[in-house]
């Protein structure tokens, strides 16, 4: 009864606060859409490579590899600058030498690999051996397909992250305002039980977290066409747990903040580091202590479960451990919240 009154009150407050509601419901869609277009952006232009001597065979091979050759007078930084090249390829006594602009190291590395293949072929040609174009390799993929882009792997994590971030922010600041205006204290001077207060807040903000989660997931899958290999119900289940963790963590951390400003200060400390461990960067290559650190972050489990379901097509059986970890995080935060509420009633 009291819990119901509390839930009704939170819903009413939330609906009156149009801007917060808009932030909760529309902002994740906006950011997700933006990321979608940025990461799925059209094909980049072909890299441009300068060559010093006229060499039709070489030029042909470069073109075949998707590189635009251009005749330049010398191999120098100025030449690269002047002609807006990605590199210059020269041959000195038959030995290839490559000068790269290296503005984007990842691109430069890929370019170097392509060119060394071509140079090797060129060398074979020089020895009078028969040159055949590299045979096309029949490739099959365990997950995704030839069309898979970085966004496909990233988007499940992004969906989870946005649910986490916005629910954390809004529940944290919502509760903080109750603490600073004294309404929480006022509430605790009535015969309401701590359990009722906690249930009321979790359910009240939870309703909006659920709505947000459904909107974000539906939008990502249906509008942005993010590939969904597994079941959408599992995606929703994971995200609901993520929302619960964010909700209980936000409420808990608001205990340690004395203003909205201080609440926002938790973002770089609590939220941002989680992004690094959510699966956007490969965890395998990290130092051992970092890997251990990653395992105390809720988003690590969320990211793994979400990419599992959405990209690798895992079923509920595969994600159970991750779900259990998320549920344990939520349980711990909820218990800590119950303890923190003792501050208001001894």
């Amino acid at each position: 009864m009291r819990t119901r009154a509390l839930i009704a009150r939170i819903c009413r407050q939330m609906i009156r606060d149009k801007r917060t509601l808009a932030l909760l419901l529309a902002a994740p869609l906006l950011v997700l859409t933006l990321m979608y277009y940025i990461l799925n952006g059209g094909e980049a232009d072909n890299p441009r490579i300068g060559i010093v001597q006229e060499d039709a065979a070489l030029a042909g091979m470069l073109q075949q590899a998707g590189i635009d050759p251009m005749l330049v007078s010398e191999a120098s930084a100025e030449a690269i600058e002047r002609h807006k090249l990605d590199g210059v390829l020269t041959f000195e006594a038959g030995r290839p030498a490559l000068m790269l602009e290296n503005a984007d190291p990842a691109q430069a590395k890929a370019l170097r690999m392509k060119i060394s293949q071509i140079a090797a072929l060129q060398a074979l040609d020089g020895l009078g051996l028969p040159v055949t174009a590299a045979p096309g390799i029949e490739t099959s993929y365990v997950y995704g397909g030839e069309e898979s882009s970085f966004f496909d792997v990233l988007s499940p994590i992004l969906v989870g992250f946005f649910v986490f971030f916005f629910v954390f922010l809004i529940s944290g600041i919502g509760l903080l305002r109750e603490r600073t205006t004294g309404t929480l204290e006022r509430l605790m001077s009535t015969p309401i039980r701590r359990g009722e207060v906690l249930t009321g807040y979790l359910a009240g903000y939870g309703i909006f977290a659920v709505i947000q989660t459904i909107i974000v997931v539906m939008y990502a899958v249906n509008v942005l066409d993010i590939p969904l290999a597994g079941s959408i119900w599992n995606v929703l289940l994971i995200n609901l747990l993520v929302a619960l963790v964010a909700l209980s963590l936000g409420i808990l951390l608001s205990t340690f903040a004395s203003s909205e400003f201080q609440m926002v200060q938790f973002i770089p400390v609590v939220v941002i580091p989680q992004v690094f461990f959510a699966g956007i960067l490969p965890l395998d290559g990290m130092a051992d202590w970092l890997q251990i650190l990653g395992k105390i972050m809720p988003l690590y489990y969320a990211g793994d479960a979400l990419t599992g379901v959405m990209y690798r097509g895992e079923g509920i059986g595969d994600i159970v451990p991750n779900l259990l970890f998320l549920a344990s995080f939520a349980a711990v935060f909820i218990v800590l919240n119950a303890l923190a509420l003792k501050k208001y009633r001894k």
Binding site: R9, T190, P191, R193, K346
Partner: protein
């Protein structure tokens, strides 16, 4: 008349700072008690102990015959905090309805109490407005209405008239006196406004976590050989240096 509130050798410290030291104080039912003293003297801590928000380190706090903290007892205690703890996005009526739902009140009783409390503080015509559109005085009055919503036997008001204009202050005080006389309520008020202190039945002067002196306003003035409470306040403060 029974005892409404009993502090028995109550001490409280926060870390190294002692906020209350060996406070013994008794309040009888159906009277208005004033806790006076400068800011930081420990008035609010005393008041918070009555609502179970603070626990005494040593000593006992009894309210309406039972040891505090006690969740059930909160049904009988109306509390008005120093800050207007109201939900500003909601209307006055929604605030009252929300707080009424937290107490054991039947549907009919709830409606009656909301009507009564809002009438009492002269807000009946403004209940449909959002609290964010209320003036400071209106918020204060709504806070008082919230404190009265469950018809409590004990009313605890922490600086109820701060930021309220004199005419409204007068009307709130006449209402408090009426509640005491007609309904036999016990009222505990903290204040540092001396003309309010003069209207209390009993006063306790709090300073540095101790009760310096207590008694009726007349007794206090006699004790310090003066004819106004302001001098009592200053003399009591001065004697400690």
């Amino acid at each position: 008349m029974g005892i409404a509130v009993q502090f028995d050798r109550v001490s409280k410290r926060y870390g190294k700072k002692t906020v209350l030291q060996d406070v013994t104080l008794q309040m009888r039912q159906g009277q208005i008690y004033g806790l006076i003293g400068p800011s930081g003297a420990g008035k609010t801590t005393l008041v918070k102990m009555l609502v179970g928000m603070e626990r005494a380190d040593t000593g006992k706090v009894n309210v309406l015959g039972e040891a505090m903290p006690n969740l059930k007892l909160l049904q009988d205690i109306g509390y008005m905090a120093q800050s207007d703890a109201l939900y500003t996005e909601l209307t006055g009526e929604e605030n009252l309805t929300f707080f009424a739902s937290l107490f054991k009140l039947g549907r009919e009783a709830k409606r009656e109490r909301i009507a009564y409390a809002s009438e009492l503080v002269n807000l009946s015509g403004e209940l449909g407005k959002r609290v964010s559109a209320y003036s400071g005085g209106m918020k204060r009055r709504l806070s008082l209405a919230v404190a009265l919503i469950q018809n409590p036997r004990l009313l605890i008001l922490d600086e109820p008239t701060v930021g309220i204009d004199p005419s409204l202050r007068a009307s709130i005080w006449s209402e408090l006196l009426r509640l005491k006389e007609k309904e036999g309520k016990t009222i505990v008020v903290t204040t540092h406004v001396m003309d309010e202190a003069a209207r209390c039945d009993y006063l306790a002067m709090v300073r540095d976590g101790r009760i310096l002196t207590s008694g009726t306003p007349r007794e206090l003035m006699a004790q310090y050989d003066t004819d106004n409470l302001e001098s009592v306040f200053l003399a009591a403060g001065g004697s400690r240096r």
